[in-house]
Symmetry: C2
DNA sequence: CGCCGGCATGTTAGCGATAACAGCATAAGG
DNA sequence: CCTTATGCTGTTATCGCTAACATGCCGGCG
């Protein structure tokens, strides 16, 4: 059996070095940490003892005795299915690289987010990671500000000034998707808005509007349906859009859940997707590839975002990196799958 | 304030937990390390103190004090939506409690699982966690046996003898669900089988058959459709079942994805769920509560299962707890939501 | 001359956890 | 009924390192 090979002849300690250099362990420590109040001659002595013994400080002991390892919390409430797992994978990875401990805490639907957050804070974390939808809770942000706990908002489209944040550009992504649909030839493009309490909703809508405008397609408010990011709300919105006398040839839903609902409604009405109706989503959750046809959607690099978030937070905690970039914007990807196609009927000719 | 005064809001220590639980720090340590010589009542006391304080052991102190830190791998390939995140939360939590480093490795659809597993082993893990569907890969198990790497199979219905494993009783759960449907008055109950390479499929089917038999309802093989646990396969299976001259009044799908597909097919045909057709799933993935109506399904305590798996693995690695229980079977829950109801039409009278 | 202040260094006391052993009930055995 | 096992649980002593304080040594000042 190959016991962990590291346990060989116990490595030299700071005491071995101290003896050999004829000084006290403390002086060795000072030399190691580059403190400037050691006489050059002594420093030299210690240094040579160190290299003679091939000494390396024990990081565990170091963090135990010293500044202590920092811990960061991850507070999540109800992200869509695949979001959390990706987020976890990324933050875990980075947390271990940066040598911080990650405490994961869930806010159950019934819980009051404030209570849970307070619990986390009281448990002594030095900072908190807030993936959506918690990143847009004003009450939570207020609490964090009061308690002076640092936080990184992930996925919030427009974080308050100075707030640490990581996100994609929701507006630009929605713009790209709308442009994609326009490129396929669609002119009547329905849009299902998301939960108005989340800032991302407004931004995605803005991207949609802006793309239409740039393509000189007039925005028809009939084609814009309200939604809440839930499947259920998507059902209602899709019904509303498809009930229109001049129904859209494509529906761009504010997220995958509502897009999936739109597909369901289309099927219920005997419409083929994408033959009779193009449907696109946003987020690229697992739902997007679970249903049939698989959804064309916007993919967020969630794992990378969470990695970036951990980095930002740790740097802030250790005060290593000044605010050279408090808000980190990563790139999205438009993923094309089977739910989009050019419109079957020629659209009404647009302008002369 | 430049630095948080060291004493103020530091993380809770083993001593805080000990005080709160009214025991000595040593006992807490024993609980954390899963040593088996602690009275269950005491263990419970300590555990609740741990979660109340949101305590996590300081890895630095631990490795300093002796216990060399071990690492375990989590190898996953393609669990259904939501499974992974729950699994991660549970295993993370327990990994941090037990102070093992969790190395997460994904096996992409194209990858050969053997290669990925070998990579993980070579990176020096002391054991591997195998959630479904990898837990049922014979080739993988063979490799692990050869390499003498310990593994815990999670979700495999009948693990090889002596293999570390955690699961629920799939057969019994399917039995309970079928019984539930019979209790509602259904007699023609369709069943969609799962991927035949996974042992859970056969067990769920066995539970279904056994419940019918006990209720003296003859098993009609017409009502049993093949499936693969994918949404797509559920679509085909549901079409097949609903095409039947004497169609079922209820469909029990082998998992939630296929149940969701069944709901979609029903809607496409203008059937109301649950008014015209009852649909039940299995697994209680997030999909179950995403769609409408929300699915009645079987809930597995995935987070607890992964916690148990980590425990089992760590204990085996540290050789602290003998094989007092190599296969840990946890309880499932039948969750009733909106997708089931008594059959609308009186079923054909059964027997004289 | 003697006291002060500043620098280089040594001492002491933990950091948070565990190993090893010591106690102390309770159960088993004679 | 007393002794020897057999759990559980508590004590003590570290692990390697570093804050915080204590010491000794020097020159400068009144």
């Amino acid at each position: 059996m190959v016991k962990t090979s590291r346990r060989q002849r116990s490595a030299p300690t700071i005491i071995d070095v101290a003896k050999r250099a004829g000084v006290s362990p403390m002086t060795v420590s000072r030399v190691i940490n580059g403190e400037n109040n050691v006489r050059p001659a002594t420093r030299e002595l210690v240094n040579s003892a160190i290299s003679a013994l091939n000494y390396a400080p024990n990081p565990a002991a170091r963090s135990l005795a010293g500044a202590g390892q920092s811990r960061i919390g991850l507070l999540y409430s109800n992200p869509s299915a695949g979001y959390l797992s990706e987020f976890l994978v990324g933050s875990l990875d980075q947390a271990s690289r940066r040598d911080v401990q990650l405490i994961v805490e869930r806010c159950e639907p019934g819980d009051h987010e404030i209570e849970v957050a307070r619990h986390l804070i009281e448990s002594g974390v030095d900072g908190i990671l807030l993936p959506p939808p918690l990143c847009d809770s004003p009450a939570l942000l207020r609490l964090l500000a009061e308690e002076q706990v640092r936080a990184v908002l992930v996925g919030s489209a427009v974080p308050p000034a100075g707030q640490l944040a990581v996100s994609i550009d929701d507006c630009q992504a929605a713009y790209a998707m709308t442009r994609h649909l326009l490129g396929l030839g669609h002119r009547r493009i329905g849009f299902i808005k998301g939960n108005p309490t989340l800032k991302a909703s407004a931004h995605r809508y803005a991207g949609y509007c802006s793309a239409l405008e740039d393509a000189e397609v007039v925005l028809d408010l009939e084609l814009v349906a309200p939604g809440l990011f839930t499947y259920r709300s998507g059902l209602d919105a899709a019904e509303q859009l498809l009930d229109l006398a001049d129904a859209p040839t494509a529906i761009f839903a504010g997220n995958d859940d509502m897009a999936a609902a739109s597909v369901a409604v289309a099927h219920r009405r005997g419409l083929d997707v994408p033959g009779d109706l193009t449907v696109c989503g946003f987020d690229d959750t697992t739902l997007a590839t679970t249903i049939w046809p698989e959804l064309t959607t916007i993919h967020q690099p969630i794992a990378d975002m969470s990695r970036a978030a951990v980095d930002l937070l740790v740097s802030a905690i250790r005060q290593q990196s000044p605010p050279d970039q408090r808000h980190c914007v990563l790139d999205y990807t438009l993923i094309r799958r089977q739910s989009d196609a050019p419109p079957r009927r020629r659209p009404h000719s647009a302008h002369p």
